[in-house]
């Protein structure tokens, strides 16, 4: 009992903050917790009688319920359409509807998906959650990576550039068709982001440069590189595969949530079911001692930066996919800070030596919930930063041992005085 409570102690304050925030929303925001289950073929069934009379009509009405979600979600992989088709009640309507489906929705493998503010928070928070996973590992070694925002921009830029070249047919592999060749930019972006992480790791672990300084280099230069890749343009794309990453749904939830879950599970297994997690914490605690104990401290550090680069690549793809374009100036701007905040809120110490992946995820969700709450309260996006900063300071204070000691001593002295009187 005691052991488990210790294990989850780091989660207490972030979860309490999150709960307070959700409680606030439960009372003061209408429909905050309303989650609807959207069923694609239900709309179809309702509209079905109209099909024979007026073929184009069902198409349009079919899209309408989705319009407020993301009407321009273009197309879906062909395989998914087949699934929807299987569930469709009217087989006769199928041929006419198939193209409409491709065009209108996006969507789920089994025809159902959840829709509502909490789901939206998860979808929008996916970027920071993915970043926070990598950042947690880096911070656990006592380091920091402030270049992830710039790496996101690079990943988004290369993906958008390649997809536009493939669409134009000027890149090998274009013959495979848009349903398949979107994998090329995804892989390229991930490889490039991983290389960026490798570069950071080389500076930190290879040359022994202070992490904050080493990653500052890529932070300053990274956006320049991204601008060079896109030639200063904002490249837009509408490849269904690439757009699906952040706008599509699978198994009831947005696809991006599944990406987060997958990465979290993989990272969790890697760190908690192998010795890697112990090694990381040991390096973060005392690098020299770990080296004497036979741990390849440099290689472990290097690896965390590579993982962080990869995570930044995934986040970059999500960011580009979300807005269907690569904006080198603004993609991932300040997200490194959000990721660090999420990590610290989650109980991971900036000094290294301890890390909590679950805490980081809760931290990321907390930040996103706060942001979304502000938006729903009609607070201007620009001003959202103010309460965000306050929450950050409050959570940091609550987690600071010094602050706790001071507050406790105040209470203690008051209690003592009370006792005397």
């Amino acid at each position: 009992m005691n052991k488990t409570s210790n294990r989850f102690r780091h989660l207490v304050w972030p979860l309490v903050s999150l709960a307070l925030l959700l409680l606030f929303n439960a009372f003061f925001t209408d429909n905050f917790f309303k989650i609807e289950i959207k069923k694609q073929d239900s709309a179809q069934t309702v509209q079905a009688p109209a099909v024979p009379d007026n073929p184009p009509a069902p198409g349009t009405s079919w899209i309408t319920p989705e319009n407020y979600e993301n009407s321009s979600d273009s197309a879906e992989a062909a395989a998914k359409t087949v699934d929807q088709a299987g569930q469709a009640a009217q087989a006769a309507a199928e041929p006419q509807q198939a193209p409409e489906k491709n065009d209108g929705k996006g969507v789920s493998i089994f025809g159902y998906y959840l829709y509502g503010t909490p789901i939206d928070i998860l979808n929008q928070g996916a970027k920071v959650m993915v970043l926070a996973i990598g950042m947690t590992l880096v911070i656990a070694t006592g380091g920091i990576d402030i270049s992830v925002g710039a790496v996101m921009a690079i990943a988004g830029a290369i993906a958008a550039l390649l997809i536009s070249m493939l669409d134009a047919g000027s890149f090998p592999g274009a013959s495979m068709g848009p349903a398949i060749y979107w994998i090329i930019p995804v892989v390229a972006a991930l490889v490039l982001a991983t290389l960026a992480g490798f570069w950071n790791g080389m500076l930190v672990a290879g040359f022994g440069i202070q992490p904050m300084v080493a990653t500052l280099v890529l932070m300053v230069a990274g956006r320049g590189v991204a601008q060079l890749i896109t030639d200063g343009q904002i490249i837009t794309f509408d490849n269904p595969g690439l757009v699906f990453l952040c706008n599509g749904h699978a198994l009831f939830l947005p696809f991006s949530v599944w990406i987060v879950v997958t990465m979290y599970v993989v990272a969790g297994l890697l760190t908690r079911k192998t010795a890697l997690g112990l090694f990381i914490e040991s390096v973060g605690n005392n690098e020299r001692a770990s080296r004497y104990a036979g741990i390849e401290a440099r290689r472990i550090k290097w690896l965390t930066y590579v993982i962080c680069g990869f995570c930044a690549g995934v986040a970059g793809l999500l960011a580009a996919s979300n807005i269907k374009c690569a904006d080198s100036n603004n993609a991932g701007l300040y997200l490194e800070l959000d990721a660090i905040l999420a990590t610290v809120i989650g109980g991971t110490s900036m000094a290294g030596g301890r890390f909590f992946l679950s805490g980081s995820l809760v931290g990321a969700i907390l930040i996103q919930t706060l942001t979304t709450t502000m938006y729903m309260k009609n607070v201007s996006p620009a001003i959202v930063a103010v309460p965000k900063a306050m929450v950050v300071i409050i959570v940091c204070l609550l987690q600071s041992p010094v602050f706790r000691a001071k507050v406790l001593s105040i209470f203690a002295s008051k209690a003592a005085k009370g006792g005397v009187q």
């Binding site: 660090i340 201007s380 620009a382 930063a385």
Partner: protein, 328 residues
């Protein structure tokens, strides 16, 4: 014994000055008029606000901390002044209020950092968000400063005409003055030396009886003041306030300090170096503008590479001096 030997601690700052002159020479050789005094003076005019911000950043970095709120405070100060003047307030009061807010905010950050031993990175990061948001609360749009007596006076009467068409503007003089004060402060006063001691080894400084807390809070207060002053200079320079400006300027300031030969771990470097760091950044931008063919995004990449080069050099020097002290 080794009297003739060039002291190791002057190597980075000499390298910065060397880089500055090399880049300047490249400019003079490649382009006509690059060597003209106007270009040189414009370098100061365009970068005076960055230079003043970099002074505060340099002091904070010398204590081993970091200040990320610089850009936001500049934007906030400029928009606050513009808004107050627009609503009919005397410009001097507006400037005084803005400076006071900068000082108080810096003090608050230093207090949080010292009293609750929170990481400077996080506190100033939150400060950055907070002040940026406050700027938007003041006004979400850019406000021009028009027909203000004080600003016109600063613009027209407070500049020294060196020769025809060549003015030493007030903001440049202000920058130089602040720089000289900061250099004297950091090198010749007890508080200045304390900053170095804390940056080198905070525990040792505490044991020696140096008032660590007071010095740290003072440093962040000075940084807040410098950022606010940079904001005032920025408002004078642009004759407008805009809450959107100076996003990421703190990174430029940090880069300038690093290029200026200050070690980011603290305790090593000179405030004077930030001048050349800022000038090198300005020169690179001027070169790219002069050329016109090169994509302006190369600025970021070149600055990144320069930062990298200086970091490598610092690392090398630290290693050499460590091995020396071991051999003695």
């Amino acid at each position: 014994m080794k009297k003739f030997k060039f002291p190791m601690r002057y190597v980075p700052i000499s390298a910065t000055i060397l880089v500055f002159f090399v880049v300047y020479l490249i400019g003079i050789i490649s382009f006509d008029n690059f060597g003209s005094p106007k270009v040189f003076l414009d370098l100061f005019v365009d970068n005076a606000y960055l230079g003043i911000a970099a002074i505060g950043t340099a002091l904070v970095i010398l204590t081993g901390g970091i200040d990320l709120s610089v850009g936001s405070i500049i934007a906030f100060t400029s928009i606050l002044i513009a808004k107050m003047i627009e609503s009919g307030c005397n410009a001097l009061w507006a400037i005084a209020l803005a400076l006071a807010i900068g000082i108080l905010f810096g003090m608050l950050q230093g207090w949080l950092i010292h009293c609750f031993s929170l990481p400077p990175f996080l506190v100033t990061l939150a400060g950055m968000f907070f002040v940026r948001g406050c700027g938007f609360i003041v006004s979400e749009e850019s406000i021009p400063i028009k027909n203000d007596r004080v600003f016109d006076f600063i613009q027209n009467d407070l500049s020294i005409t060196l020769s025809k068409g060549l003015h030493l503007r007030f903001i440049v003089m202000l920058y130089i003055a602040v720089l000289i004060i900061a250099i004297i402060f950091s090198q010749r006063t007890r508080a200045g030396r304390s900053i170095y001691a804390i940056g080198d080894n905070e525990l040792a400084a505490t044991l020696m009886g140096i008032p660590v807390g007071r010095t740290k809070i003072m440093t962040y207060t000075i940084a807040g003041f410098c950022s606010a002053l940079a904001g005032v200079v920025y408002a004078i320079y642009l004759k407008a306030g805009n809450p959107l400006n100076c996003v990421g300027l703190e990174m430029d300031a940090i880069a300038a300090v690093v290029i200026g030969g200050t070690l980011l771990t603290g305790g090593v470097g000179y405030v004077f170096g930030s001048l050349f760091g800022v000038l090198v950044l300005g020169l690179i931008q001027t070169l790219i503008i002069f050329d016109g063919r090169i994509n302006s995004w190369w600025t970021r990449i070149i600055v990144g590479l320069l930062v990298l080069a200086f970091i490598f050099m610092q690392n090398l020097i630290t290693k050499i001096s460590k091995s020396k002290s071991k051999s003695h």
